[in-house]
């Protein structure tokens, strides 16, 4: 019994991390109709950046994250301005291919610079248990991941739903020409959207790096996690990513409990496929006309 409760708790906490892994992808899909296939590699790139700054240069994780976010924003603005904006009017496929190219470049650049070895970002909390009873324990690292994940999604929802800037992002997503005819430079809005997504990816990169080992080719693994979260929660629904993340975490941990750890990953995919079959738009998104 306690073991199930333990799985549920860990699943939910893991879900918070999954939410922040998926939320940037959901945003880019919802606003730009772009499947950002480089999302996973961007997160891992951020893991390397924070590792580098935290361990070698500034010695402080928060400062390292700030510097990483700034660098990642500059990078995403360049990607958007010089690559994606040139093809975004030509339908979804060219932008998909561009992001595929970006993904390959990031991965290979990481191998060149850092080598193929496993890395990790030291985290004092990961070995500290917040709750430590004989039956149930709560890892400090997981709890922090969860809190940060939920906070990131809520802040993003606030920006999109409650600010004028967020409203112009929603308007652009809803009717691009309609927005342009009110004086909105929609390509710039797209660039800002990618920046927001990449900022969340940077935070996800730090959390991933502190929780798991990573190496240059881990990106696609987290891309698939992001896919799962977005498919389950609903493409483009930010609140849905929280639910999607938590459900995915629960399914993984419970299947590991009932069927053995070997089932953890595959059960997540099966769940994603089941959702795709019975509710293709995801649990929270409205069906598109």
């Amino acid at each position: 019994m306690y073991i199930i409760i333990q799985s549920v708790i860990t699943g939910i906490l893991l879900g918070g991390l999954y939410a922040v892994i998926g939320v940037g992808m959901s945003l880019v899909f919802g606003i730009m109709r772009l499947t950002n296939i480089a999302h996973g590699d961007l997160m891992i790139l951020a893991s390397y950046f924070t590792m580098l700054f935290a361990m070698e240069i500034v010695g402080n994780v928060f400062l390292a994250l700030l510097i990483t976010i700034v660098l990642m924003l500059i990078l995403s603005f360049l990607i958007q301005t010089f690559l994606v904006n040139r093809v975004i009017d030509k339908g979804p496929e060219p932008s998909l291919l561009v992001m595929f190219g970006v993904s390959i470049i990031i991965r290979n650049a990481l191998i060149l610079i850092f080598g193929a070895n496993n890395r990790t970002i030291p985290n004092p909390l990961s070995t500290t248990n917040i709750l430590n009873s004989p039956n149930i324990s709560i890892s400090g690292g997981y709890l922090v991941n969860f809190i940060v994940g939920v906070a990131v999604v809520l802040v993003l929802m606030f920006i999109i739903q409650k600010t004028y800037f967020g409203m112009s992002i929603r308007a652009t997503a809803s009717n691009r020409m309609g927005a342009e005819l009110l004086g909105v430079n929609t390509k710039r809005i797209f660039a800002y959207t990618l920046c927001l997504a990449v900022a969340t990816a940077s935070i996800a990169g730090l959390l991933i790096g502190q929780t798991f080992v990573f190496y240059p080719s881990t990106g696609p693994q987290y891309l698939i996690t992001a896919f799962g979260v977005v498919v389950i929660g609903g493409m483009g629904s930010l609140g849905g990513t929280l639910v999607g993340g938590i459900l995915l975490g629960l399914v993984q941990l419970l299947s590991a409990h009932f069927f053995g750890t070997g089932w953890q990953t595959i059960a997540g995919y099966v769940f994603m496929l089941v959702i795709l079959t019975i509710r293709p738009q995801g649990i929270f998104a409205k069906a598109r006309r």
Binding site: Y164, M167, S168, R170, A171, S174, N175, M177, G178, A179, E180, L181, L182, G183, V184, N185, T186, K286
Partner: protein, 243 residues
């Protein structure tokens, strides 16, 4: 009607879609403070012309000047910032946003943002139906209300020139009459209006000056009150017979 300077000038405009030429040497002069209408049957190039003015289509040759500034080929949002906007053919409203949010978006540009409460209020007083539904999603509006919202949010940008493409398309006569009444009010408040209409009689009645387009060319123009309806109709239908 006292101010007779021209605000928007279209000069020998040619526009192509691939190999197909949609506009042939189109020239127009839109007078400041007037209502100008473009009449033409389906496929005569009206939307192509308006979209080219708004930077949605790029011209092959010719020029478009707004207050003596060449705006041809400029980005749409820039043209809007220079003082022209359009309620386009088909929908331009933000379906999954509320009516109020749709209108607030009209105040996106800095000069309008500073006065957004006032401008939205002005739009609401012009279209009281919209005020009633202020908090509702735009997707729930009727066809006529959508048209009103489309015009209303264009007005919130506080433009010098407002362009309306086919405001009467698919609407009941009472609603069309109502919308034209609003256009008159908008114009009386000092805004220059350029509109597209398919019905000759209605167009002549509600405008100061008219251009008649057939197959990508301007074939007739004149002060609306002085253009004989029969002649306009025969120009309109006459060539249509051979189409």
């Amino acid at each position: 009607m006292s101010d007779t300077g021209s605000i928007l000038k279209i000069d020998n405009l040619n526009v192509h879609y691939g190999d197909f030429q949609a506009l042939y040497d189109v020239s127009m002069e839109i007078k400041k403070g007037r209502v100008t209408s473009i009449i033409g049957s389906n496929g005569s190039g009206k939307t192509t012309l308006l979209n080219t003015v708004m930077g949605i289509n790029k011209p092959t040759s010719g020029s478009i000047t707004l207050n003596d500034k060449d705006i041809s080929g400029m980005r749409t949002s820039k043209i809007v910032a220079d003082g022209v906007t359009m309620s386009p053919e088909g929908s331009s409203i933000f379906e999954d946003m509320t009516i109020k949010e749709n209108l607030l978006m009209g105040a996106y540009l800095p000069h309008a943002r500073k006065r957004k409460t006032e401008l939205v209020e002005k739009a609401f007083s012009l279209f009281p139906d919209l005020r009633e539904k202020s908090g509702q999603l735009a997707s729930l509006l009727s066809g006529g209300q959508r048209q009103m919202l489309s015009i209303a949010k264009a007005i919130v940008t506080d433009p010098q020139v407002i362009i309306c493409d086919e405001i009467s398309l698919g609407l009941a006569p009472v609603i069309i009459k109502d919308i034209y009444k609003k256009i008159k009010e908008i114009n009386a408040a000092g805004m220059t209006v350029l509109l597209v209409e398919q019905e000759v009689k209605r167009s002549l009645k509600h405008s100061d000056y008219s251009y008649i387009m057939v197959k990508g060319r301007v074939v007739m123009e004149g002060v609306s009150g002085e253009l004989p309806e029969e002649e306009v109709s025969s120009a309109y239908f006459g060539i249509n017979k051979y189409a």
